[in-house]
């Protein structure tokens, strides 16, 4: 068992989410940075979608009443009984130890993965927390002081370390690549160009549902004709004011704003590491390039690529 001594700003249980229920309005949820979560799980020999703790902007403090193997990934640093431990490598936590996790300024989220995963009841096949509706995860909410977490039975005793060069290739980006979305042609050539020539700032209104940006406004002249339709994670919605919103993992399943673009699958993990105040840029790519980038990223997320032999 693990006792939460300090939960940090917003710490939730997340795995790779529960896609497949949008028909009932249910968001997939899941880790905001699935690359970091998958790496953490692979470091321990867990299934890639084992549930872990996702910490946001500030880390938490956890008392381990049992020994466990752990890995810290994402924008993370940690201390075990006061001594620094390295991120992106598996390590052992003895029974009775205090583990403190921190989130680096370089990103927004850190993951604490444990061999065997965090054990919470599964909802529609996933342990992920959806905060708005209070579904899934630990009682459907962010962790609080005094919460007690259970750890699953480990499948393996593996302990790995991620190769530095792979980490560089998987590093979160501040330039997000975009493809066209269903309403891209509702915007003028100038507006589509403006999106990639100007930089945008992430506002404080940035959470797991969506990130409001501030920069060159691109209002849609056609907004009134928009009929609510399904939306993909990473959709760049343009509300009447013209400032974009990136729809994110806890998203609504349908939306009524026109979408000028969609962040590519390979860059969604990077969105999960954006902090309020970050300056970001966009770049248009073709669908073929986007698919090639998704497959390249996937090919790196295997034990053979990640770990030094």
């Amino acid at each position: 068992m693990i006792v939460v001594e300090s939960p940090g700003l917003q710490t939730t249980v997340q795995d790779l989410g529960r896609p497949g229920h949008a028909e009932f309005g249910i968001a997939a949820a899941g880790a905001a940075d699935p690359v970091a979560l998958r790496c953490g799980n692979l470091l321990l020999g867990n299934a890639a979608n084992a549930a872990a703790l996702e910490m946001t902007l500030a880390g938490g403090r956890f008392r381990f009443q049992q020994a466990a193997s752990a890995a810290l990934t994402g924008s993370a640093h940690g201390k075990l009984n006061g001594a620094a431990v390295e991120a992106w490598t598996a390590f052992d936590i003895p029974a009775g130890a205090l583990f403190e996790a921190g989130v680096d300024q370089s990103g927004a989220r850190a993951y604490l993965c444990l061999a065997g995963g965090i054990d919470v009841p599964s909802f529609l096949g996933s342990a992920s927390t959806h905060l708005l509706t209070g579904l899934g995860g630990y009682a459907g909410r962010a962790l609080r002081k005094g919460d007690v977490l259970r750890v699953g039975l480990p499948d393996s005793q593996e302990h790995h370390t991620i190769r530095r060069e792979i980490l560089t290739r998987l590093a979160p980006r501040k330039t997000l690549r975009l493809t066209y979305a269903p309403q891209t042609h509702w915007f003028s050539d100038e507006q589509r160009a403006a999106l990639v020539t100007h930089s945008y700032r992430v506002t404080p209104h940035a959470d797991r549902m969506g990130l409001r940006l501030e920069g060159c406004a691109t209002p849609c002249a056609n907004s009134a004709h928009m009929i609510t339709e399904g939306v993909s994670t990473g959709a760049l919605q343009i509300p009447p004011g013209g400032q974009p919103i990136i729809l994110f993992v806890d998203q609504q399943t349908t939306g009524g704003y026109p979408k000028i673009a969609n962040v590519i699958a390979a860059d969604l993990a990077s969105v999960g590491q954006l902090r309020p105040g970050d300056e970001i840029r966009f770049e248009w790519v073709s669908f073929a390039t986007a698919l090639a980038l998704a497959r390249e990223q996937e090919s790196l997320l295997s034990p053979a690529e990640l770990f030094a032999s």
């Binding site: 028909e23 309005g25 509706t133 269903p182 609510t228 339709e229 399904g230 939306v231 699958a265 986007a290």
Partner: protein
């Protein structure tokens, strides 16, 4: 118009049946949604029905737009929108007005009706669940009497109490969760629109019919 299939992202396709909200379009949306739920094509990960469209998400590692599009074209050609299905009739009790329907009086006034007339019109109509979206169990209902059509609030409420029954444009619906919302609230139901430990979790599904029944005693 001819059914259109186009990429909506690097991992989704949007099927558009029409640019007009209508029962005929809804039947096509519902038929494709049910067909995909019954027999989900390989590598399709999620299906988002709406008024005139169905968004189909797929795994971009395992497949691509052209493969999924070919599969959808076959499926649409094979699917008949007159396919029979069990459209349930769901009755939703509503306590109208007062603190549970804070916008009832103003909506009535703006439409030149009495609050009682709004309640009578709203509870006399039979609605169709065009789709469930936004949040779990939120049904977009078609069939609002035109006399009741009203614009959204100028500024959305940061938190709408769960069970609130609202009107926005030609739509009416019930908020299952405490979410932000800009619909005009005319009443509240004690029913749980979505319950994770119930089967089915969502009280309503695409294609169902809904009636609102006046509940005299206040809820909660």
């Amino acid at each position: 118009m001819k059914t259109r299939i186009e990429p909506a992202s690097d991992r989704s396709l949007l099927v558009t049946f029409s640019r007009q909200i209508s029962i005929a379009t809804h039947r096509k949306v519902a038929a494709l949604t049910r067909s995909l739920a019954r027999d989900t094509p390989a590598n399709v990960t999620n299906v988002h029905p709406a008024y005139c469209t169905v968004l189909i998400e797929f795994d971009p590692i395992a497949t691509d737009h052209a493969t999924v599009q070919a599969c959808l074209e076959t499926r649409i050609a094979r699917t008949s929108d007159s396919d029979s299905f069990d459209a349930a009739l769901i009755e939703i009790p509503v306590h109208y007005g007062g603190e549970f329907g804070p916008d009832l009086e103003q909506l009535a006034h703006q439409r030149g009706l009495t609050p009682q007339q709004v309640v009578e019109l709203h509870s006399a109509a039979e609605y169709t669940v065009y789709f469930v979206g936004f949040v779990p169990g939120f049904a977009y209902l078609g069939g609002l009497p035109p006399e009741l059509e009203s614009p959204r609030l100028p500024a959305p409420r940061p938190k709408v109490p769960p069970g609130s029954v609202g009107i926005a444009g030609a739509q009416t619906g019930v908020y299952p969760f405490a979410t932000p919302g800009g619909w005009r609230l005319i009443g509240r139901t004690p029913l749980e629109l979505f319950q994770p430990d119930r089967d089915p979790m969502s009280l309503v599904a695409i294609g169902d019919r809904v009636r609102f029944v006046v509940l005299e005693k206040p809820v909660r």
